[in-house]
Amino acid sequence: MNFLNQTLLLLKKDLILEVRRRENLLTMFFFGTLLLFVFHFSFDLVPERVVEMAPGLLWLAFLFTGTLGLAQLFEAERGNHCLEALLLSPMDRGALFLAKTAFNFILMVLVEIVVIPLFWILFNLGSWDIIPHLFLVVLLGTIGFCVLGTLLSAVTLKARARELLLPLVLFPLMIPVILGTIRCMEAILRAGELGDALPWLRLLIGFDVIFLTVGILIFDWVIEV
């Protein structure tokens, strides 16, 4: 079985589990929506200011919901020695990394597809036509988040209080993604196109590529029995 087949098989396993239990997606989705309400009560968001604050708020919502997903990412493998069984099977551990990354990515994208339009509705934003552009940038940011997040979720796998530890090690390392995504989103919301935020987009792509490669290469050592 080649690398791609292994990845797809592992991804399929996680997706089937998720379709049957629906716990991750539902909690992430409701948490994301809940955050929009919390933002509304915390800030006095008049329409003129919403455009300014939307990138930060939206990305924060995705960051928190994503962290929620990451904390649960290896939960299914933790019980009943499933992880050991998985590691004993003759497969590339890079494939496991890729599958887990893709799984969290799919969950986050599903949440984002709902939450972004919801944000537009709840805060009465007019410019619906920029959403596709915005979504592309968010996708790039989400890839970066999932790649590094999966890596660190595995790194903290055997730690005590790992749900608390994960954001602690994850967020400082995530600064380039946070800054890059928010700056690109700002440019799109302001002018409808990237314009001078192009270097940020390159930084995002660079981040995604670097840590995707590092993750596949290093995952052998990250996850061991």
Binding site: L152, T156, K158, A159, V169, G180, V214
Partner: protein, 235 residues
């Protein structure tokens, strides 16, 4: 078990003494001998500590990276101890740098803290390696902790250039370099006594750093020895 060889204890003693002498000499040179800064006055003397501490902190994080790579490659316990020791001392020196910088910033810039690129980067470094230490202390299985921390040490180091870039694009208002300037030689722009003070302090800090590192490293080794002896007694 080799035990503590007297030769290495002696070497460390000399190293410590040398570090102490050069730090004291550097302090004397910086506090009395060098002239006060033309614009900033006496407060500029903090720089004689500030720059050496951040440079040794950088050295530290580089050693964490080296130790982590070596550990994953060769699986030698000593490389892991090296990375752990360097991370601890690195966090200490980074924290010191930030405190010294704040003390200097208040009279010079008028604020304790500003979101300037270099300040932000240093604070992020502190957070990353504080997370590294947290990860180590929260993972009970020794070998798991070592390889998990090694991976984090490598990722953290690889991420630094990216964080550096993003934070610099985000904002920069740090004072431009006055020693390594492209248009002037160092001795034209800075009083020679200032350069000497900085140089002595830098050497002092590096010596002090390696002294602390060797002691901390030895501590890690002793820990391993105790564990090995307990294990052999129980069997």
């Amino acid at each position: 078990m080799a035990g503590i060889s007297t030769a290495s204890v002696k070497t460390k003693g000399y190293l410590g003494a040398l570090a102490l002498i050069s730090v004291l000499l550097g302090l004397y040179w910086g506090l009395w001998h060098a002239p006060p800064d033309a614009y900033q006055g006496e407060v500029q003397r903090i720089m004689y500590l500030h720059i050496p501490s951040i440079l040794t902190a950088y050295l530290s994080f580089f050693l964490v990276f080296i130790g982590s790579c070596l550990y994953l490659w060769k699986r030698e316990k000593r490389d892991d101890i090296l990375a752990y020791s360097a991370a601890e001392i690195g966090v200490l020196f980074t924290a010191l740098t930030i405190i010294e910088g704040s003390v200097w910033g208040k009279p010079t810039w008028g604020v304790w803290w500003t979101w300037d690129a270099r300040l932000t980067l240093t604070a992020i470094l502190l957070l990353i390696f504080a997370g590294y230490l947290m990860l180590r202390s929260l993972t009970e299985d020794e070998n798991r902790a070592a390889s998990a921390a090694a991976v984090l040490g490598i990722i953290g180091f690889l991420d630094i250039p990216l964080i550096h870039m993003s934070v610099y694009w985000w904002r920069t208002l740090h004072q431009p370099p006055s020693i390594l300037r492209p248009d002037k030689a160092p001795w034209d722009n800075v009083h020679p006594a200032m350069l000497t003070a900085l140089g002595i302090n830098f050497i002092g800090f590096v010596l002090l750093y390696f002294y602390l590192l060797s002691q901390r490293f030895r501590l890690g080794e002793i820990n391993e020895e105790i564990k090995a002896r307990l294990l052999s007694r129980n069997h």
